[in-house]
């Protein structure tokens, strides 16, 4: 009896050990969950690559036609795809959403390394174009008739999407910056709308002195392109990089403009006049729409972002005004975000892919969907310069014609910006340095100098000649 019992419990021990071993394997798999999820997206797209409408999010209208796979995350994009597919009989778009921003880039980056699995056409933010061009991930569209649509875009915008002699993407939407503010909070505190950064600082003090616990705005340390745009407004031109000499890059991340802007904000932070919450988190989103901040320094896509957030204060009165200036007599317009369609170097039929990139947002009907449902800011001149767009009244802003008042001027004054071919790294370091400065570990000048040093070191280690 005893021996039987003994052997049973012995066996039970082994079973327990076996189960725990299995669990460890499960746990280890769970640890790599991030990677697996990334992989799933690529598998889906690989299925989409196989043709047939099985892998597409949208419905294929002309089954026999050449299919072009597209990755994009535009809001209300399905309507645009359907419009394209019903108006084209020779080419059909097979669209899938491979994630937003970095999620998509991670997958795309992996497909470049693997040499397979990329879509034919991909939506990319303008700022990451150099990073993918230098890895030969994108196709020069000049041989595929890019020049035919060149006149539809302003020269500055076209230059942002070109590199050397090549054109690597067809512009879609832009992000000229303005200031969205809560009229009701301003009125309650007796603040008039600031037009310069000096007035902005005064307004921040006024708001605090009024006894309100609302912060004037949020200085997000993880703002990436947002910070870069604020620096650029004071004359910062961090990179000089040209596709004609792709191994040379000039880096100037600690110039006077950057330091001036950084110190200005750090001063507001020190005085407790602006918040320093991380951007794009649930906390931040909620504070944005529920009266945590009185001002949202936003790009032209900001109103769409704002309108899509939950938990909004129903009594909020939002209005738009131009971005404050450093020198009111010499206004500088800056841009935050914006995106384009590029053709990947793995495209099966570059001609068809280029056709999609050129024509998908090349009609007024498509732009009506993009503007009214997706809240995009068009770079396509026929619509950008139209009376329709200028006179469009936005119910979210109490019927204000925000394009006429703010964004058209901001867009017209934007002179272009050069990004680096290692933008992701530079942004990560920017976040670290600005965060350290906000935490009081170093001052603004030191943070900018350290950032410069880190990015120069990285560029050198990546084989660039840094001038």
């Amino acid at each position: 009896m005893r021996s039987i019992r003994g052997s049973r419990s012995h066996r039970r021990g082994w079973v327990a050990a076996g189960i725990s071993a299995v669990m460890v394997v499960t746990a280890l798999t769970a640890c790599s969950g991030g990677g697996t999820t990334e992989g799933t997206g690529s598998t889906e797209s690989a299925a989409a690559d196989g043709g047939g409408s099985g892998g597409c999010t949208n419905e294929i209208k002309v089954p026999g036609a050449e299919q072009v796979t597209v990755w994009a995350w535009y809001p209300a994009f399905e309507g645009v795809v359907d419009l394209f597919n019903t108006t084209h009989s020779d080419v059909q778009i097979c669209w899938s959403n491979a994630g937003q921003g970095n999620d998509e880039y991670t997958k795309f980056s992996t497909t470049i390394e693997a040499g397979t699995g990329a879509p034919d056409v991909i939506m990319l933010e303008t700022e990451v174009l150099p990073s993918f061009i230098i890895r030969d991930g994108l196709m020069d569209l000049t041989p595929y008739g890019a020049d035919e649509v060149k006149q539809n875009y302003s020269p500055g915008v076209w230059a942002d999407h070109s590199n050397g002699d090549g054109v690597y993407a067809i512009p879609v939407d832009g992000g000229p910056m303005g200031m969205l503010y809560r009229q009701d909070i301003f009125d309650a505190a007796g603040i008039s709308v600031p037009t310069t950064w000096d007035e902005f600082a005064v307004a921040a003090q006024q708001l605090k002195d009024s006894g309100s616990d609302v912060m004037l705005t949020d200085f997000m340390t993880n703002g990436r392109a947002y910070l870069q745009a604020l620096f650029a407004q004071a004359g910062s031109e961090p990179y000089i990089f040209d596709g004609a000499t792709p191994t040379d890059v000039q880096i100037n991340l600690n110039d006077d403009g950057t330091k001036k802007v950084l110190n200005y904000w750090l001063d507001l932070v020190d005085k407790g006049l602006v918040a320093t919450d991380d951007g794009f988190t649930t906390d931040y989103n909620t504070k944005l729409v529920s009266g945590g901040y009185a001002v949202y320094l936003a790009a032209a896509w900001g109103p769409g972002y704002l309108a899509g957030l939950e938990g909004a204060d129903p009594n909020a009165v939002w209005r738009a005004a131009p971005l404050p200036q450093w020198d009111a007599s010499n206004p500088v317009q800056v841009n935050w975000g914006g995106s384009a369609f590029a053709v990947t170097s793995q495209a099966k039929n570059p001609e068809a892919a280029a056709l999609v990139a050129k024509e998908i947002f090349g009609t007024e009907e498509a732009w009506t969907i993009g503007i009214e449902q997706g809240a995009l800011f068009p770079l396509w001149l026929p619509i950008l310069e139209s009376d329709y767009f200028r006179d469009l009244a936005y119910p979210f802003f109490g019927g204000q014609k925000i394009n006429q008042d703010v964004f058209l001027e901001a867009s017209a004054g934007y002179a272009g910006f050069t990004f680096s071919p290692f933008q992701n790294f530079a942004y990560d370091k920017l976040t670290e340095q600005v965060f350290a400065a906000v935490q009081g570990e170093k001052d603004g000048n030191q943070a900018a100098d350290d950032l410069q040093q880190q990015v120069v070191d990285y560029a050198t280690s990546q084989g660039f000649t840094v001038n």
Binding site: R5, G6, S9, H10, R12, G13, A16, A17, S20, M23, V24, A27, L28, A30, C31, S32, G33, G34, G35, E38, N102, Y105, T106, S109, T110, I112, E113, S131, I134, R135, T221, N222, P246, T247, D278, F280, T281, T282, D283, T286, K287, P421, F422, N424, F425, D428, T431, E432, F435, A436, V438, Q439, S461, Q462, G463, F464
Partner: protein, 314 residues
């Protein structure tokens, strides 16, 4: 081959029988290999081959400007002198030194308490303590992200009662403790089950004997139960050590709400992930991964060597 062996060698009854037995064993073994071959195939295709490929990649250097070339062990020299990698390693080592004792103590105490109870409440408690492990790590981390949130979490309310300002558990000063709490919550229940299973495997007559010798409950727990489950404890320790050195999921998820405190090189695994998928340096990322593998191997080997008497795993 074994058959020809039999034909060639003339042999007497005894040795012949022995040889035949060996032949039978060999053919049985062959069937054995046949049965494990599906596993071996998958194992080779999804673990061995990728490992070799990653190692091969780690011997090359690919830069954005200059393309790919063979550089031997340069990447490893770079990794072990890379302040970001070393910073990550030092974090996970410090984290292990605090986390493992804490979570072992928690799970051991809970298991010992549950072992002495047999009512329905104890079974329910056992299940509840195990439940966090059943929550996927990603979901668990996101949940804690909300619990820690200054706006949605309960901390602000709790501290508000005493008129104090709530700390943010993911601020640079608190992130160590904040993550410690998440990981302990997630894993203590699982370790508790392992310890509990080991405790149930002890013959109860040992306790009877101890009690007759005058030992009280606490003495039985500390002097009898703990020594008898030492091999389970060592097993847990090794699991925890390997898992913690490869710390990834929780900080990766919580990065999106605390980008400043949890940077791109927070742990070696996050650094490898970012380097590969965000900065497109797949070769250097492979080297970092192998370097981390070396740290984990040395760490766990050293530990097993030091505890070889207790573990019974030699």
């Amino acid at each position: 081959m074994s058959q020809t062996l039999i034909v060639e060698i003339p042999a007497g009854g005894h040795s012949k029988r022995r040889r035949r037995r060996r032949t039978v064993e060999r053919s049985r073994q062959r069937f054995g290999y046949l049965f494990v071959s599906p596993f071996m195939l998958v194992f080779a295709a999804f673990l061995i081959v990728p490992l070799i490929y990653a190692f091969w990649m780690s011997l090359h250097t690919k830069t954005l400007a200059l393309g790919e070339h063979f550089t031997g062990l340069d990447n490893y020299a770079q990794a072990f002198s890379d302040p970001q990698f070393l910073h990550g390693v030092s974090f996970v080592v410090r984290f292990s030194l605090v986390l493992i004792p804490v979570q072992m103590l928690v799970s051991l105490v809970v298991a010992l308490v549950l072992d002495t109870l047999t009512d329905r409440l104890a079974r329910f408690a056992r299940l509840m303590i195990f439940v966090p492990y059943a929550v996927p790590v990603v979901i668990g981390a996101m949940m804690w992200g909300f619990l820690y949130s200054p706006r949605f979490g309960p901390l602000a309310d709790i501290f508000g009662v005493f008129g104090a300002e709530a700390p943010f558990p993911l601020s640079p000063d608190n992130v160590f403790a904040g993550l410690l709490n998440v990981v302990t919550w997630q894993w203590a229940g699982y370790y508790m089950i392992i310890i509990y299973a080991a405790l149930r495997a002890i013959d109860p007559s040992v306790y009877e004997a101890a009690r007759m010798d005058g030992a009280n409950g606490r003495q039985i727990a500390v002097r009898i139960k703990v020594p008898m489950i030492s091999s389970a404890l060592v097993l847990i320790l090794v699991f925890a050590l390997i898992g913690t050195l490869q710390f990834f999921t929780e900080p990766q998820i919580l990065r999106s709400v605390a980008a400043g405190s949890i940077d791109a090189a927070f742990t070696p695994n996050i650094y490898a992930f970012t380097t590969a998928f965000s900065y497109a340096q797949f070769n250097y990322a492979s080297a970092i991964s192998f370097a981390l593998g070396a740290v984990v191997f040395v760490g766990s080997y050293l530990f097993l060597f030091l505890t070889r008497k207790k573990s019974g795993l030699t």
